[in-house]
């Protein structure tokens, strides 16, 4: 089955600078795809090309099979966009902004009214619907932008740093809504700096650096893939010998830290099985067992070549 987004050799140059350099990836139906990268890596430029806002210098983008260059209207009809900077009309009220979106997406007035009311209620803006947007806080503007993007019930949603600089209430509201949308089948393309957000939300992440994709995979697989040597933290309810632990299959070393053992292993799966068997054979119950995979933050820093501050 073809992907919802199919980007092939996507390229964009600004003068002598290649901002996006032959980027290719596919986003599958129903997934949340995180697009990560340091500042200036090409995330926003890529998103703008995917959404048809800026033309590409090379490559191709297909959205639900529609070429964004040849059939831009058909492609855009099927997605919604939440940009990084709020771009609602500040001289209009929230309701007028939504009605405008309804007309631009060809919605019947009844449906636009019903959807607007539901979305504004869900996002806590219904009581302020007749107020001009220029009086809104940043969080309220961002929630309105989300409502505008969702009005026509798109099958695909692009979000560029949707929670950047928002208060906790707005952030939680937006994240909860994204989860609910995804559960209902909406495919989500999420550009974010927030590793924790990407780790918790995304089925797969793509990491871009210097305009090139350096990794695409599920967050957990990326975490385990970057370290050849895995670390496991284990504690028992009795004394055990470090030498015995080091000699177990799959385990290359064991070091005591307080009441726990830090195990290094080449194969995490074999090591855990060995520890469980060891516990059963020696009658030493396992109290805690944690795999210490690197965080997505560490994966990001490693893959983008940046140092932890």
């Amino acid at each position: 089955m073809p992907g919802v987004i199919e980007a092939r050799d996507l390229t964009k140059t600004f003068g002598a600078v290649t901002a996006v350099d032959h980027v290719s990836f596919e986003v599958r139906e129903g997934e949340i795809f995180g697009f990560l990268g340091p500042n200036g890596a090409g995330k926003t430029t890529t998103t703008r090309m995917l959404t048809g806002v800026v033309p590409m210098d090379g490559g191709s983008v297909r959205i639900f099979g529609h070429d964004i260059r040849k059939e831009p209207v058909d492609a855009k009809q099927r997605f919604g966009v939440v940009p990084e900077t709020s771009n609602a009309y500040v001289d209009l009220t929230a309701w007028q902004n939504l009605m405008l979106m309804g007309e631009l997406y060809g919605l019947e007035r009844d449906r636009a009214d019903r959807r607007s009311r539901d979305l504004l209620e869900t996002l806590g803006l219904y009581e302020r619907r007749d107020q001009k947007v220029q009086g809104y806080s940043k969080g309220m503007k961002q929630r309105l932008i989300l409502a505008m993007a969702l009005l026509h019930e798109p099958e695909l949603l692009f979000l560029d740093e949707p929670t950047s600089g928002l208060d906790v209430q707005s952030t939680q509201m937006i994240l909860a809504m994204l989860r609910a949308l995804n559960a209902d089948g909406t495919t989500i393309f999420l550009t974010t700096h927030n590793m924790e957000e990407a780790n918790r939300l995304c089925d797969r992440v793509g990491i871009i650096r210097g305009g090139r994709i350096v990794a695409i995979d599920a967050p957990e697989r990326l975490k385990t893939a970057i370290d050849r040597v895995h670390r496991i933290e284990v504690s028992f309810d009795g004394e055990v010998s470090g030498d015995l632990l080091s000699g177990l299959a799959g385990i290359t070393g064991a070091a005591r830290t307080g009441d726990k053992w830090q195990i290094t292993a080449e194969n995490q799966d074999t090591a855990i099985r060995s520890l469980v068997a060891f516990s059963r054979d020696r009658g030493a119950a396992i109290l805690t067992l944690n795999t210490l995979a690197p965080s997505l933050d560490e994966v990001f820093l490693r893959l983008t070549g940046e140092e932890r501050p």
Partner: protein, 251 residues
């Protein structure tokens, strides 16, 4: 529903026009360049002691009003929207660039026609006889489209600074007013002035307005209409073409 179909795109262009009417009609620069400027220019000439008949002056005022109002809204919309990033929102919506331009032109046309209608009422209230109503109506409609296309054309340079466009706009509009037979009748113009006058669409519109009120005209009426049609087609096509090229550079 075929979102890319012509009828659907025209509907969406109308949505753009409604948005423009709500937001931009009351903006300061639009009121200054669209309404106050032609009124003060007219008053300056009216009270300047020149012995020109009222019918001539009011016809000129109508011509000038439509020209200034129809070119007041359209040049500023793209730079304003580029600056506010709302243009990026429109670019991500299922609407073609041509439909966005058409929507802006419709808002401009309606603004021009609305304010010109007030001038017409003033002229009628002052006792000016309307001899050729259909000719006047057709001329106003045609010229409003033509002038709004000129306005959009002025907004084609991909700058997001409205004052730059307003400056460019004034640079073109004021000389056009003086060479188009509004304050100086074409009959009294020197030969070089006439060469310039035939290049201005405002000349043909003013000539048609004078014909509608006084029955007198400099060019044959069919030529006035044909010239306005030609200018409208050329400016509209040029506007669509240039905005298609320049819009991505505003993002």
């Amino acid at each position: 529903m075929n979102p890319a179909g012509t009828s659907e795109q025209v509907r969406r262009a109308w949505a753009i026009a409604k948005k423009d009417i709500r937001i931009y009609y009351s903006k300061g620069p639009v009121l200054i360049f669209g309404i106050f400027m032609p009124v003060f220019l007219f008053l300056a000439f009216f009270m300047g002691g020149r012995q020109l008949p009222l019918a001539f002056l009011l016809s000129g005022l109508m011509g000038m009003t439509l020209f200034f109002t129809s070119t007041a809204v359209s040049p500023a919309i793209f730079p304003w929207e580029g600056q506010a990033k709302t243009l990026e929102r429109l670019a991500a919506c299922p609407i073609t660039i041509e439909a966005i331009v058409l929507g802006d032109m419709i808002a401009s046309i309606l603004f021009g026609i609305g304010v010109t209608a007030v001038t017409l009422l003033i002229a009628l209230a002052l006792g000016l006889p309307l001899l050729h109503g259909i000719a006047l109506g057709s001329a106003v409609l045609l010229a409003a489209v033509c002038f709004s296309a000129i306005g959009m054309l002025l907004a084609a340079p991909p700058t997001n600074v409205p004052s730059n466009i307003m400056m460019l706009s004034s640079l073109l509009k004021f000389p056009l007013v003086f060479i188009s037979g509004i304050f100086v009748p074409l009959e009294q113009m020197p030969e070089w002035g006439l060469y310039l006058a035939v290049c201005s669409p405002l000349t043909y519109f003013t000539d048609l307005v004078r014909y509608s009120f006084t029955g007198a005209h400099y060019f044959p009426v069919p030529l006035d209409i044909a010239a306005l049609c030609l200018f409208t087609l050329v400016f509209t096509a040029a506007t669509m073409h240039l905005h298609r090229r320049s819009m991505p550079r505003r993002m």
